[in-house]
């Protein structure tokens, strides 16, 4: 799966949690979930569960802690899909 495909799926997944629509419109590789999208930090664990379901991967605690931005999340997803 290409990076662009992953970002496209990720965009759909995070949409329900977004509190900053402007940040969501400009979502790109450098977007930070909390600072740019104003996602409630408690919801990050929900996004990770949604990622697991969508990409059929399992994400360990260490990887979870890294998943604060689009870029880091794409890297984790790629790593787990190729594992």
């Amino acid at each position: 799966m290409t990076k662009e495909e992953i970002i496209s799926k990720l965009t759909t997944l995070v949409k329900p949690y977004v509190q900053n629509e402007e940040g969501f419109k400009n979502m790109n590789e450098d977007t930070d979930f909390i600072n740019d999208l104003e996602i409630n930090s408690a919801n990050l664990v929900d996004i990770i569960l949604d990622v697991e379901d969508e990409f059929k991967v399992e994400i360990d605690n260490d990887s979870m802690e890294k998943m604060l931005s689009v870029k880091a999340t794409v890297l984790v997803i790629q790593e787990k899909m190729n594992a």
């Binding site: 329900p16 949690y17 408690a42 919801n43 664990v45 929900d46 569960l49």
Partner: protein, 436 residues
């Protein structure tokens, strides 16, 4: 008199309700005036082997939920007690003339006390199944806030932006009436200007199952659900489970007058006590002496004589304890026969809403004062002989009657031998707050 001794008068300026026979104030008011039952048959109770297969569940569409909670709040949401509580609470706050704005500053003069028995029991069940399947991490972020007892106050406090006390009380079937009295005390003491008070209870067979096992729910009316809840009737055969939420905005008279708010009624006073599970009281049965004491102390607190009571809204669940409750009222008030006030039980229409019962019934009590009527006791065409021996049958109206009501007493009693009684008074504008 120093400021600490000043006792604020407390009035009710907003109401909200989610009941089995009516969701929202207009539908509920119409239902209780016309005697509409909200009790229906539920196949899932039958399928799970319940003896009692009828119950009261409010009708709430998916579209309706979105009027109160955001799509994000509804993600992974499985708690009817929180849903009903939010609906009733938001409705009451708006009914009092306030707006709901997620960008408002915290209102440090407004708080809430919103009770429940258990919170989100279906969500709790989901969580237990996941944990037992070694999927604890799959609980996500939604489990804690929906299953903590104070989930309902946490949701409402955030939606409304309250900055005063935000908490949840729990005292079985006394919960809603207790919440009202706790909020009343807080305003009277000058610690808040407004308190949103109420209670809610889940629509769930997991809430109801234990009562079915105790054989205190009626199993004789599964084919005639609307006839099932029969407080004070000779053919009463146990209570019918219900669910929902009721909410009231309590406000200092000063604040209400300043805002030119609509005043539904005044809370004159009340009492909360316990029978200590002594003198006949147990975990599940009342100590009659304490019940009577609760009523007489409520009258003393309100500075009202027993003779002044026009209407009683009882606890009256349709179990064998109904006649004992009537006896306790006759003794506490020193009134019986045709001298007894009118009395009714909302449970005839909506069943026993358990932790929500006190709040839903207080809303109905306040509506009776505001609109000057006594709602009918449906299913009470055959009053129990132990009750007719104590009070005149015409004091238990089976059709709505119009009546000038000045003082109404409402009581709730709960497991744990706990009691609550509140005295409401019709609000008259000529009383300016300076005369008491």
């Amino acid at each position: 008199m120093n400021s600490a001794e000043v006792k604020n008068r407390v009035v009710i300026t907003g109401l909200g309700v989610v009941a089995p026979n009516g969701v929202g104030l207009p539908a509920f008011t119409n239902a209780i005036k016309t005697g509409i039952s909200g009790i229906t048959y539920h196949q899932d109770l039958k399928d799970k082997g319940f003896s009692c297969c009828i119950g009261g569940i409010p009708t709430v569409s998916e579209e309706k939920k979105l009027e109160y909670l955001t799509p994000l709040q509804l993600r992974g949401f499985n708690s009817t007690s929180i849903l009903y509580g939010c609906m009733a609470g938001i409705d009451a706050w708006k009914d009092a003339g306030f707006s709901v704005d997620e960008n408002s500053s915290p209102d440090y003069d407004s708080g809430l006390i919103f009770g429940t028995g258990t919170s989100g029991i279906e969500k709790f069940r989901d969580a237990i199944y996941k944990i037992d399947a070694q999927q604890v991490r799959r609980l996500g972020s939604t489990s804690v806030v929906q299953t903590m007892a104070s989930g309902i106050s946490a949701y409402l406090g955030g939606i409304l932006g309250f900055g005063n006390q935000v908490t949840t009380n729990s005292s079985a079937c006394t919960t809603g009436t207790e919440a009202l009295l706790l909020g009343f005390e807080r305003i009277k003491a000058g610690k808040a200007k407004r308190m949103l008070v109420g209670s809610s209870s889940d629509s769930s067979l997991y809430t109801w199952g234990g009562f079915d096992a105790m054989r205190v729910m009626s199993y004789k009316h599964n084919e005639t659900p609307e006839k099932g809840s029969r407080p004070m009737s000779a053919t009463a055969a146990g209570f019918v489970p219900g669910s929902g939420a009721g909410a009231m905005v309590l406000e200092s008279l000063e604040s209400a007058l300043k805002r030119k708010a609509t005043i539904y009624a005044e809370v004159l006073g009340g009492n909360i006590n316990s029978g200590g599970q002594r003198n006949g009281g147990t975990l599940t049965a009342p100590n009659s002496e304490a019940v009577q004491k609760c009523i007489t102390n409520a009258l003393l607190d309100a500075d009202v004589t027993p003779a002044a009571i026009d209407v009683i809204n009882g606890h009256l669940t349709a179990t064998s304890k109904d006649s004992l409750e009537i006896e306790n009222w006759t003794k506490a008030l020193g009134r019986k026969g045709s001298d007894f006030p009118y009395i009714n039980s909302l449970k005839s229409m909506i069943g026993h809403c358990l932790a929500a019962s006190g709040a839903v019934e207080c809303v109905a009590a306040v509506l009776q004062i505001k609109e000057q009527f006594v709602f009918p006791n449906i299913n009470c065409e055959d009053v129990h002989s132990e009750i007719t021996a104590l009070i005149a049958t015409d004091k238990i109206p089976t059709k709505m009657i119009k009546k000038d009501i000045t003082i109404l007493a409402k009581a709730s009693f709960g497991f744990g031998d706990v009691n609550g009684c509140v005295i409401f008074k019709k609000y008259e504008e000529s009383l300016t707050g300076l005369d008491r």
